[in-house]
């Protein structure tokens, strides 16, 4: 009974933290566009939060620069369990055009575990929506 209640509340209100780990901003504006009236991610109960301590889902973009690596780990550790990570964009998956550069690690999953990958350079808002819905379906 309690388990079902916890599961229900998790699905109904996933609060997200948006994290730029060195992305070019394209994915970031598409994440914001997904939250604005045309796509309106908020109707699924998704709320953008300011601090990792309030968040359930980390929406990460970018190929992870060496400077951001420690900060990314720190923010992941600050997020309370259960936590999920959505990697948005081709950079967050594999490094995209920057792959081979001396200063990037090439993907969020090189640093923290990832639950859902959203492809695209940048990922469209509808694709981000689909990724979030797929994550909710997994719970």
């Amino acid at each position: 009974m309690l388990k079902r209640l916890v599961r229900w509340s998790r699905i109904k209100s996933p609060w997200i933290l948006h994290l730029n780990s060195g992305a070019c901003n394209a994915c970031d504006i598409e994440i914001v566009a997904a939250l604005t009236p045309r796509f309106d991610l908020e109707r699924l109960g998704v709320l953008l939060k300011a601090t990792p301590r309030h968040a359930d889902v980390l929406v990460c973009s970018g190929p992870v620069t060496r400077q951001m690596k420690d900060r990314l780990i720190r923010i992941y550790e600050q997020t309370p369990d259960p936590k999920f990570v959505v990697a948005v964009g081709a950079c967050a998956m594999s490094g995209c055009v920057y792959r081979g550069s001396y200063n990037i690690l090439g993907g969020i999953d090189q640093v923290i575990p990832v639950d859902v990958y959203v492809p695209g350079c940048p990922a469209r808002p509808d694709a981000i929506l689909d990724g979030v819905v797929k994550l909710l379906g997994k719970l």
Binding site: H18, A33, A50, V97
Partner: protein, 400 residues
């Protein structure tokens, strides 16, 4: 008592994660110090290992908001090295996308400014409006953000007659919406009062600190590459350089709204006078050895690319000076004598970006050395409280 505040490296108002150290006394900022390099991806080094065509798509991904600016700046420079001139129709389409990008970037910024000033419904309305621009861009190029429409020697896609009339119709809708929002901003005294007098940058400071783009123009420095050093088709298109003399965030808002309206005029001119013919010419495989500096007026200011060719199919050196870099020095001047609560607004006024995500600012008490964390929403509430206390700005006129 002086207190140091570190901000960042994750900062919602900037396109790059950036670190800031502020020395404050009470609520007033005395000094600011920038720490850069969190978003360093080594693009310039990567560019040396890629061919010119590949580099078009790499430079496009320097920034996601002014992506077309970077690829156009690179293509303009490369075309001179390749000794080719793109056909007229190709140029018209290329700068049509440039102006669309300016509109989408400025609308994005306007929404963000509304959000930081505590006017969230304005933010949502403007972003809904912006989706029309994204639709036009998607219709022309097939993509919402990285348009990938440039190629060396012109553009990759043509538009047909039906698309041309559709774009003109949508521009009329956009113009009506923009004037509605303009009206909304004019009749909302608390919004105007919140923006006026914040982030002051005098004309002398703007000149000596080499501010670029709307930041400089809001301080009454009529600096616009499209007029000063016309590239492409800008010597034949009629338009005005928009300036404001209030030197604050309100002035930057006014300049951007005026520029959006100018961009609609430019786009209508381009679409009504669209010449017939091919959209691209074939480029030779290798450029001549030499070097070139290419300038371009991006939505945020002057964008400079330096390309050095050694005669092979890859550039020997690519140097990029993005407009935001030119505005950093001016940012520090603007923050000085400002209030902690105005930090989000002053930042947002320089560089339009992802302002929705809230972050925290750490306040360190220099006497006890104990840090206290203030969330971004708390900062905005502080700003709101201060604006409510401050009644003398209530009757500020919207200078349009």
């Amino acid at each position: 008592m002086k207190v140091q505040i570190p901000i960042g490296p994750q900062h919602p108002a900037l396109k790059e994660p950036i670190g800031l150290r502020m020395t404050v006394e009470g609520e007033v900022i005395h000094d600011a110090d920038l720490r850069l390099g969190y978003n360093h991806r080594g693009v310039e080094k990567v560019a040396e290992g890629r061919s010119y065509i590949q580099n078009l798509y790499l430079t496009e991904r320097i920034c996601g908001i002014c992506s077309h600016s970077h690829s156009t700046t690179f293509a303009q420079g490369a075309e001179i090295l390749f000794e080719i001139v793109p056909p007229k129709r190709g140029q018209f389409l290329r700068y049509l996308v440039s102006e669309l990008e300016r509109v989408h970037s400025h609308l994005l910024w306007l929404g963000v400014a509304g959000h930081e000033a505590g006017f969230d419904s304005f933010f949502m309305y403007v972003w809904r409006d912006r989706e029309i621009v994204m639709d036009i861009l998607e219709m022309i190029s097939g993509n919402r953000v990285h348009y990938a429409i440039n190629t060396i020697g012109g553009v990759r896609r043509d538009i047909d007659e039906a698309q041309r009339t559709k774009i003109l119709d949508l521009l009329a809708v956009l113009r009506a919406r923009t004037s509605f929002y303009l009206n909304l901003g004019t009749t909302e005294p608390s919004f105007v009062g919140r923006l006026a007098g914040v982030g002051y940058l005098s004309k002398e400071d703007a000149m000596s600190l080499c501010a670029v783009g709307p930041t400089a123009r809001a301080s009454n420095v009529p600096r616009d590459v499209r007029k000063d050093d016309p590239y492409g088709i800008y010597d034949e298109v009629p338009f005005e350089v928009c300036t404001a003399d209030t030197c604050d965030v309100l002035g930057r808002t006014v300049v951007r709204i005026k520029e959006v309206l100018q961009s609609y005029d430019i786009m209508e001119y381009l679409l009504r006078n669209l010449p017939a013919g091919p959209v691209a010419v074939k480029a030779p495989r290798r450029p001549k050895p030499g070097e070139i500096v290419s300038r371009y007026e991006a939505p945020r200011g002057e964008n400079i690319h330096y390309i050095k060719s050694n005669g092979t199919d890859k550039p020997e050196r690519l140097k990029v000076r993005a407009p935001t870099l030119g505005n950093y020095a001016a940012t520090i001047a603007m923050l000085k004598k400002g209030f902690i609560a105005d930090i989000p607004l002053i930042f947002a006024a320089i560089d339009p970006c992802i302002c929705c995500a809230e972050r925290s600012v750490e306040l360190v008490d220099s006497r006890s050395g104990r840090p206290s964390v203030v969330r971004w929403s708390e900062l905005r509430r502080m700003a709101g409280r201060r604006a409510a206390r401050d009644s003398k700005k209530r009757n500020v006129e919207w200078p349009l």
